[in-house]
């Protein structure tokens, strides 16, 4: 997984796409996922991180995580 290099993300979660002006506010969970992706973690490692550190069912994690990835891809924030 790779983030679009044209996207700037501040430490406190303001995301700005310099190519098209799209901007979003990320919540703390989204910031955490983005930081893991930035550190080149893939799905298995991200999932392991959340299951170990939060009380969340595996099925719930998968559902929310892939919904989030779909949003990132739709807005050209995540590129493969």
């Amino acid at each position: 997984m790779r983030l679009n290099p044209k996207v700037e993300i501040s430490e406190d979660g303001f995301l700005f796409n310099t190519e098209n002006g799209d901007n979003f506010l990320l919540n703390s969970t989204a910031i955490e996922i983005i930081n893991l992706i930035k550190n080149r973690k893939e799905y298995d490692e991200i999932k392991k991180h959340f299951l170990e550190n939060y009380e969340i069912k595996e099925t719930d994690f998968d559902r929310y995580f892939f919904e989030f990835l779909d949003d990132l891809k739709k807005h050209n924030i995540l590129i493969y």
């Binding site: 796409n17 310099t18 190519e19 098209n20 002006g21």
Partner: protein
């Protein structure tokens, strides 16, 4: 650095809910690093806010409407020039541009420089000619027809799916969801701006705007792309942010290389997935030009220097994420000034 002292005349001093470019151009020139500008405003209506901005304009003169004809306007410009000794004129309204293009040689003989597209360039990119213009230069544009009467509209509306965009030949555009709305907007726009009225295919996407300055030799001297963040009910951008889209830049470079456009222009573009559609080509500076000062390009300064024959290196780089936010501001003035401009046509 020694600044060049210049007297510059400019129009577009309206700054209401549909603001003209004159006031932001004036602000940009006052902040120019290479020019010490003494600004002379040209107004058409006596309540144009720029008239009362004596912190920007040394003097303001009322001009006759463009419909008065070239000779009447030249006569007024001669009067102004005799008093002010103008170096450069920057016309900022679509409706007056053709007059100034036609007068440019006579103005040049008087020592007044302009930087304007040629007559051919101006006509070629008119809204009613946009489809053939874009086809010639391999640019995408939405399907558009010119409508001269209601019979035309009735005959051709089936070529479109609703909604459609109904556009005046100079200004304003409305989205019509059905035939009745289309007729209503046709009547409104034809009464206000004349004929033809344009019917344009509606595209779903992100609207982006480009301001650029060409030197007439195929080169782009300044370029800034912007996305509107807030749009008023009149369709005006009230806030925007700079963006850097390589495809947009390449489209702009190619446009100027092919057309050899002389002077400023604004491209209104709709980006859908990966296609870029030209919605309009405005042959003058747009009202958001002050953003170019915000990104250290100061397009009005470059325009004046080019008009004077100076050679300028292209400056196409800028920082994305720089915003403009427009605001409303009450000026305090005196009825005596209103009286003076109304009765004597100058202030």
């Amino acid at each position: 650095m020694n600044k060049i002292k210049l007297k510059i005349g400019l129009s577009g001093l309206n700054a209401n809910d549909n603001p003209g470019p004159g006031v932001p151009v004036a602000r940009a020139l006052k902040e120019a690093e290479k020019i010490e500008a003494s600004l002379i405003g040209f107004a058409y209506e006596n309540l144009e806010p720029g008239i009362y901005m004596n912190f920007l304009f040394n003097k303001v003169y009322q001009l006759p409407y463009p419909s008065s004809g070239k000779e009447i306007i030249l006569e007024r410009l001669l009067y102004i020039h005799n008093k002010e000794k103008l170096d450069v004129i920057i016309p900022n309204f679509d409706s007056e541009l053709l007059t100034f293009i036609n007068l440019s040689e006579q103005l040049k003989e008087l020592g007044i420089k302009t930087l304007l597209p040629t007559h051919e360039q101006f006509e070629a990119r008119q809204k009613s000619n946009l489809v053939s213009f874009c086809n010639k230069y391999n640019l995408n544009t939405p399907k558009t027809i010119s409508v001269f009467n209601l019979q035309d509209l009735y005959t051709n509306i089936d070529k479109f799916n609703f909604p459609v965009v109904v556009k005046g030949q100079f200004y304003e555009a409305y989205i019509a969801g059905n035939y009745e709305q289309t007729v209503m907007y046709f009547n409104k726009l034809s009464n206000k701006w004349g004929l033809p009225v344009l019917i344009q295919e509606y595209l779903n996407g992100t609207e982006v705007n480009v301001i650029a300055l060409g030197d007439g030799n195929g080169n782009v001297i300044n370029y800034v792309a912007m996305r509107k963040l807030y749009i008023t009910d009149k369709g005006k951008g009230w806030a925007g942010v700079t963006i850097k889209d390589d495809n947009l830049l390449n489209l702009t470079i190619s446009f100027f290389k092919n057309t050899k456009w002389n002077g400023p222009l604004e491209l209104e573009i709709m980006k859908t997935d990966n296609n870029y559609y030209i919605l309009e080509i405005n042959p003058r500076i747009p009202a958001w030009v002050y953003l170019t000062v915000g990104v250290k390009q100061n397009l009005p300064q470059s325009l004046v220097l080019l008009a004077l024959g100076e050679k300028i290196n292209p400056n196409l780089d800028y920082e994305p994420g720089i915003m403009f936010i427009r605001y409303s501001w009450d000026l305090i003035s005196n009825i005596k000034k209103f009286k003076t401009i109304s009765m004597y046509g100058e202030l």
